[in-house]
């Protein structure tokens, strides 16, 4: 059993290694990279994208996808801000943001799970609808003077721990728990890996899809509050394309687009790889166009890694080994054979 764990660790380790190399290189380039303030900056900048990335990871692992995350975030956010402005009740503001986002995700789930439409098309449609509603509701204007709402995006607990980072940490723990410690997590991997086989094994595929969208909905709703609070306004045009940031982080972090593979820790590292990359390029004053080229190369590299190593047909045992050999030998890594 030993070498399976070793190779698994190697896989996890290698993506972590990429981040480590990047951190070391960045520190050498610019000493202030490692400063507490910069680390805090990076964490805050990444909080919203990471929370969205978790939602995308859960969905992609389950063989689904959400292209509406950015738009639903904006709609949930502006409605939440305006509820807060009129009531001053933050609990209600959170409830509205999460509620709106969950409703949209349940609509996604209905069309995807019950009617069998591809998630790509359905969420593209909800993306348009949600963005349209956000603009309609605000007449395209930013909502200003949101008062203490901004605390949830800019405030710090105990004087140093930014609120969005706390949300990110809690989300990391909860998502990691769901994916590793619950039956639901196992069914996500199963339905994304082979839906028909999962169904034939007694997994409730439809319910699992609803749950995946539900989790995404809650995350997107929370991200909506954090985003609007951070920018200290209700921006109906905000967070355009944020679903792509989340998707990218998940994929860079080793989530397989074909479903069935992906981890919380990988997604977190993927998000930090992109975040650190952005950060060091800004610190060094790298030209914006070059930044985009570099990001493109990193993403292709990550997907290449994904395809070449993660999806590689695993070793096939051709020669049967004697039991004692099996115990001490390492697993044969072979091309798909025989």
């Amino acid at each position: 059993m030993k070498n399976g764990k070793t190779s698994q660790l190697m896989q996890k380790y290698s993506i972590f290694f990429v981040l480590l190399v990047m951190i070391i290189a960045s520190t050498m380039m610019n000493p202030s990279f490692m400063s507490t303030r910069n680390m805090t900056n990076i964490a805050v900048q990444l909080a919203v994208a990471t929370i969205l990335a978790y939602g995308e990871m859960v969905l992609i692992v389950s063989g689904l996808l959400d292209l509406s995350a950015g738009a639903v975030l904006a709609l949930a956010g502006v409605l939440s801000v305006s509820v807060y402005k009129s009531t001053g009740n933050m609990a209600m503001a959170f409830a509205v943001a999460i509620g709106v986002s969950v409703v949209f995700n349940m609509i996604n789930a209905l069309f995807v799970a019950n009617f069998g439409l591809p998630a790509f098309i359905v969420t593209l449609a909800t993306q348009m609808a949600a963005r349209g509603l956000a603009l309609l509701y605000t007449s395209g204007q930013n909502i200003l003077q949101i008062g203490d709402y901004a605390f949830w995006g800019q405030g710090k607990i105990a004087g140093f721990l930014p609120v969005p980072v706390i949300f990110m940490i809690v989300a990391t723990i909860i998502i990691s728990y769901i994916m590793n410690q619950t039956r639901l997590g196992r069914s996500f991997y199963a339905i994304g890996g082979n839906e028909e086989a999962a169904n034939a094994s007694g997994i409730n595929v439809i319910k699992s899809k609803y749950m995946a969208f539900l989790i995404n909905g809650i995350l997107v709703g929370i991200a909506g509050v954090l985003f609007m609070a951070r920018v200290n306004a209700g921006l109906p045009n905000g967070a355009v394309g944020y679903e792509m940031e989340g998707l990218t982080a998940a994929i860079v972090g080793g989530t397989s687009f074909s479903g069935g593979i992906g981890t919380t820790s990988g997604t977190l590292i993927g998000s930090f790889i992109i975040g650190c990359l952005n950060n060091i390029m800004n610190l060094q004053g790298v030209d914006s166009y070059i930044q985009q080229v570099v990001k493109g190369i990193i993403i292709v590299g990550a997907v290449l890694y994904d395809v070449r190593f993660k999806n590689k047909k695993a070793p096939k045992v051709i020669l049967k080994k004697k039991d004692e050999e099996e115990k001490k030998d390492d697993a044969p890594k072979a091309e798909a054979g025989a």
């Binding site: 202030s32 439409l117 349209g132 309609l136 007449s139 395209g140 952005n278 914006s288």
Partner: protein, 324 residues
């Protein structure tokens, strides 16, 4: 499956149409009165959305004008299609807010060729024979800020520049004015950060966070719009080290007025959708009634700073964008 897809598309179209019309009434079929089409750049752009709303309001003040608003969805092909449709639908006048001036030029020329009154606005497409234009000049809008900045920005200052989307006409014109008016006159000023924040507050925040860390104190933020200036200010607002930092924007949004009132932002230039809409309707009315045949006009570029900000805060209070 196909039926579902179709119904989703219909729903999506309905949603787009809803936002697109901005609540305007359908074109009146009556023989008297003028039918005017306004083709907006994008309803998802907050200034364009504001302008569209003001256009509807301003049109309401003319009994003989019926206005329909169409959404170009920030897409040349869609905007051009909207212009062609308006020609085909027999409007008496078509006002075009270009997405990208040169891309719409041949279509505005078609409007003129069809004998329909053509106006380009915000920003104008210059030099179309027979077409009129109403604009707020983006160059001038930045220029009024830049002229003040020459005196305000301290010797040897470290400044950062926040750009709008690359290739955007307004973004490019505003930057051009800053370069020609300010940076040319002040070679001592050092640009420590210069990047695209694409009109977005959150992108400007991320850039500013990284810049303040890399370069310490920054003396001035030169932003191509108010949204991005507000983002930069959001980052440093609680940091006493940045108390005397200067910040310039353009647009004169409600948020910028509040920031100027609070002493955080230095100045902006009002691009008043109200003025622009009023001037557009006055122009289209003159052209339709035959009072004049060709007009090129601009609204004033009004500098808003601590001296006159109270007036504009009142204006935004009146339209509900600012509350007490």
């Amino acid at each position: 499956m196909k039926k579902f897809l179709a119904s989703i598309l219909v729903m999506a179209m309905a949603a787009t149409a809803l936002t697109g019309c901005g609540g305007s009434e359908p074109a009146a079929e009556s023989g008297d009165g003028y039918k005017v089409a306004y083709i907006a750049r994008a309803q998802s752009d907050s200034f364009a959305a504001w302008l569209a709303n003001e256009m509807i309001r301003a049109a309401g003040e003319y009994e003989d004008i019926t206005l329909d608003v169409f959404d170009g969805q920030a897409d040349d092909a869609k905007e051009n299609a909207a212009i062609e449709n308006a020609i085909a639908n027999g409007y008496d006048a078509i006002i075009v807010q270009p997405n990208n001036g040169e891309a719409q030029r041949p279509y505005v020329e078609q409007v003129v060729a069809a004998g329909i009154v053509a106006i380009t606005t915000n920003s104008r497409i210059a030099g179309i024979e027979g077409a009129s234009s109403v604009d707020a000049d983006p160059y001038v809008q930045a220029q009024v800020n830049a002229e003040k900045a020459i005196e305000q920005v301290p010797e040897g200052a470290k400044v950062v520049v926040l750009r709008g989307p690359s290739g955007n006409f307004h973004a490019d014109e505003r930057l051009k004015a800053w370069n020609e008016v300010f940076f040319a006159a002040r070679p001592d000023v050092q640009i420590v950060g210069d990047d695209y924040a694409n009109w977005n507050k959150d992108e400007a925040m991320t850039l500013m966070e990284d810049w303040t860390l890399a370069h310490g104190k920054i003396d001035a933020v030169i932003s191509m719009n108010d949204n991005m200036a507000a983002g930069a200010l959001e980052v440093v607002k609680d940091n006493p080290e940045f108390d005397d930092m200067l910040a310039y924007g353009v647009d004169g949004t409600a948020e910028a007025c509040l920031l100027i009132q609070d002493g955080l932002m230095t100045s902006t230039c009002l691009q008043s959708a109200i003025d622009l809409a009023d001037l557009n309707m006055a122009t289209v009315h003159k052209l339709l009634t035959g009072e004049e045949t060709q007009i090129d006009t601009d609204i004033d570029a009004v500098l808003i700073n601590a001296d006159n900000v109270a007036e504009y805060v009142e204006m935004y209070k009146a339209n509900g964008q600012i509350t007490e």
